[in-house]
Amino acid sequence: MSIEPITGRYLTVTVQGTPRRVYFEEAGQGRPVLCLHTAGADTRQWRHLLNDAEITASNRLIAFDMPWHGKSLPPEGFETEEYLLTTEAYIETVLAVIDGLGLDRPVLAGCSMGGRIALQLAALHGHKFSGFIAIEASDFQPAWYDIDWFHRPDAHGGEMGAALVSANISPYAPNAERWNTLWMFMQSGPGVFRGDLSFYTKDDSLIARLPNIDTSKTPVHIIVGAYDLTCTPEDAKRTADAIPGATLAVMDELGHFPMSEHPDGFRPFFADALARMPVTAAKAA
């Protein structure tokens, strides 16, 4: 028997004028590191790092489920609402969670759409953070699939979404973690993956903002897996080149969900990224 050190609680914040009950998990102490999951998934993607005693010895890792995802409920009235995530709502949610938890200039680590919004926050609200780890993150990619496939009355969007995103998992990923990663997509609520992808594949506003990121104040480190078909190493390099002072690491044997699909392979890259971030004094939440 074993009990993990991860603890989970709920926080209610206001986003776009309505209350959102947000589930978050955390482990560790010291420098706060806020972790953002990918589209169509949830906090469980970060489970291995939250359970990593060496990482959490000096880092307080916090991950939360975006509203509509995981254990965070959708807002009241969702039953008649079409879920379409926007850059503005996503930014407001991340900032509300930081305020709600009383985090003092956390490092922001986001993957995929979480990496995209991390770079948006670096451009627009950099002073609220101490640094950015943008994983499988790039300026913009249009969809190479039809996002409407994933929300239909005649098929299971979660199963289709999982089958599609399996294209982004490396063949080096341990089989058990491959399927744990896909399970989150299978469990995703109806229309949620589509609504995330709408934000991810249609909003190209980040491109013009990248040169505004001041890495002398808040470093930006981008990490990308060679098996990522959605955000390719070329996409990540183009993005890093557009941010003065940004750094880039390519993981030859990983894909789009590195912290979840292949935790041992990702760990050294994440530890290296943390080492590039400033050490800040931690405030109690």
Partner: protein, 126 residues
């Protein structure tokens, strides 16, 4: 190449979870490899017929068009990036999917894993 598809047909019969996943799949799929055509007809998840083309008489629901070298790489235990998935082949310009793509997407896990049955190490999922 036809021997590889026969291997897939044989292996599918001893892969119960794929027969279960494909229980509603009854379509003919065209696999075009360079200039060669292979028609794979499925019924209730079983690969019930393999036919070599070219043929203008066999209707198909969707097609995967690629080349022999790309498929050879796809079937390696750990393919290099892009060759590890049928959508990867499309993304890197070594494959094309035609026809009723929604039919493919609705049965995507089944079809990808069936294609992956010819992998050198079948423990590595499609």
């Amino acid at each position: 190449m036809i021997e590889t598809f026969k291997h897939i047909q044989f292996t599918l019969e001893s892969t119960p979870h794929l027969l279960r996943l494909g229980r509603l799949f009854a379509e003919t799929v065209l696999i075009q490899v360079d200039r060669h055509e292979y028609y794979l007809t499925f019924d209730k998840g079983h690969l019930v017929n393999l036919a070599e083309g070219p043929s203008r008489k066999i209707p198909w629901r969707f097609a995967l068009r690629t080349d022999a070298e790309a498929l050879e790489k796809f079937w390696q235990a750990r393919p290099e990036p892009g060759f590890h998935d049928i959508f990867g082949l499309v993304k890197i310009g070594r494959g094309r999917i035609d026809g009723d793509i929604l039919s493919l997407v609705k049965n995507l896990r089944f079809f990808k894993e069936v294609m992956g049955l010819a992998r050198a190490n079948e423990e590595v999922a499609a």
